[in-house]
Symmetry: C2
Amino acid sequence: MKKIIRRDFIKAAALTTAAAGAWVFPSCTNPKNESPAVVSSKTYEWKMVTTWPPHFPILGEYADRLAEWINKMSSGRMQIQVYGGGELVPALEVFDAVSQGVAEMGHGAAYYWAGKIPAAQIFTSVPFGMNAQQTNAWLYDGGGLDLWRDLYSRFNLIPFPCGNTGGQMGGWFNKEINSFSDFRGLKIRMPGLGGKVISAAGASTILSPGGELYTNLERGVIDALEWVGPYHDHLMGFHKIAKYYYYPGWQEPSAVLELIVNKNAFNSLPADLQEIIKVAAHSVNVMMLSEFEAKNSEYYLLMKNKEKVQFKKFPDEVFDRLMKTTTDVLNQLAASDAASKLVYDSYKNFKTRIAPWTDIIESNYM
Amino acid sequence: MKKIIRRDFIKAAALTTAAAGAWVFPSCTNPKNESPAVVSSKTYEWKMVTTWPPHFPILGEYADRLAEWINKMSSGRMQIQVYGGGELVPALEVFDAVSQGVAEMGHGAAYYWAGKIPAAQIFTSVPFGMNAQQTNAWLYDGGGLDLWRDLYSRFNLIPFPCGNTGGQMGGWFNKEINSFSDFRGLKIRMPGLGGKVISAAGASTILSPGGELYTNLERGVIDALEWVGPYHDHLMGFHKIAKYYYYPGWQEPSAVLELIVNKNAFNSLPADLQEIIKVAAHSVNVMMLSEFEAKNSEYYLLMKNKEKVQFKKFPDEVFDRLMKTTTDVLNQLAASDAASKLVYDSYKNFKTRIAPWTDIIESNYM
């Protein structure tokens, strides 16, 4: 954006309030029209593989809607078949499938690829990190998305932020957490960087497929688990078998979902369809978060007021020590891998910059 | 969304983690393709009038970008000429111009039309109301946008949320506010519902065009003013002449910008262009907020750390009494007008529902 000096700015501001007359400036913005009304009638039939069960609430539903919107905006010239995890390729092979062109698109979350690209998980969520609004500001206007594109470019992929869960819950516990030492020996299902932190705190993190979580918690195979938030957790029925529902979700203060597109496939599209995909991804980003917030707020009240679920806040001492442990885990990650250091430094610097602003505006207001 | 019972949900969740094999279900989502690859080559040349000075930072720039994205997505079939306020029609005549078809589109804020439709201002911002994330949840998933559409329908308009400023500042003051009674006799520029509240608190609200604000504050014609936030306020140079910069912006905890489209013009468009406009508006909604947050956080630190601007927080007593006065003002608004009551009840109910969730997740986290 061109630099604006105060005098011009005020002059401009004066203009808009000068309601005296309709001043017409013939030289105002004229959208560039380099290719007027030339629309290729070629139809693209693409596949979108996802890490979600088919039509999974909110997450899978927005993959469906993304396809539907792109179809409508392109007047049917772009038809995307959406596959749930395991339908065309297993959920955890979405990245490779799109990278190799088995499917042209994928919807999921970058932290699923941590084994292959440790830095990727920073784009999804960082324990004690930024909330959804801050993260979007980092991605779109703080250099985050540029780093993400560079990182994925090596894998022949173009990433787009495409949805956000908003703040999550801290998880369901059958054991009360009164001090940091209560994590010692706790058998808990917690994936991602949060899992690494809680392991460092002495817990045993257990890998447990979504479909077995309920039974494992019921039978004591695990003592605790973290899933998503009130809406999804209620659908899973955890409130029927767990004693306490802890907050806040320090491990995922927001989680960015991703759309990945095979680079060759994207580059083969006409410019209008490329733009349609980009703008549709932005749209999912705001719409999914809104639905998460609406549903989670509803199910939180349902569980709290009607179903008398026991909500518990992590004690301050526990919270503080989890925070310190998180710093250690993130520093280790940055020390172990150059890309992680690059992305984490950018993330951390932006968080340092935006936190004081959020603090005076949002925190004081709340 | 169809109701999902727990058993099906778990079954679905199990599927996605069943990485054992690639289970292919031939019956998965197939995007409806009712009009395959039939694209009208008709070109639409539209006008967008705005309430902003031409290319006004962020606000006007996103009006330009909206036109640019629509142009690209439609392959030049939809060309929108963007006019700053006063160029084609005066800023405050945007609503009428689009309603009457003088222009097909407008970008601005609903609270500018409070004189005509008192309820409209609730869609932009409510003092002590919801932040951007909560407001989006209300609009898109809590019935807010449906009410907005009903209200504007009578004026031959279709509204779309199209941008958000995020939380604003409380304004620049040359007089210290130590108690509620300090508002008595204060000459302040503060528009909208916030202005009504501060009038009820005893201040004299002065209408002052944007271009005269600096001079009026410098010469003591006004004692205080509210503009936007650190980025825009810095461009205006208020930090050079005002003693204190107060926070938080109780009067506008977020402000929704609107895109309005003439209903006849919209209905005359083919379905693909209608969808393109809708999705582009969603996109502006998330992108503008991200830029506001990025820029405001940067300019807040610049003013605080380098330029040593004196930031002051409203004392608790002042804040509490402003809140009580706000309740009175909003109740009066609802009592005076049936549409305002309908919209305000919906807003208030949603706020009551979402506030406890925001409180445990975002507030505790911060």
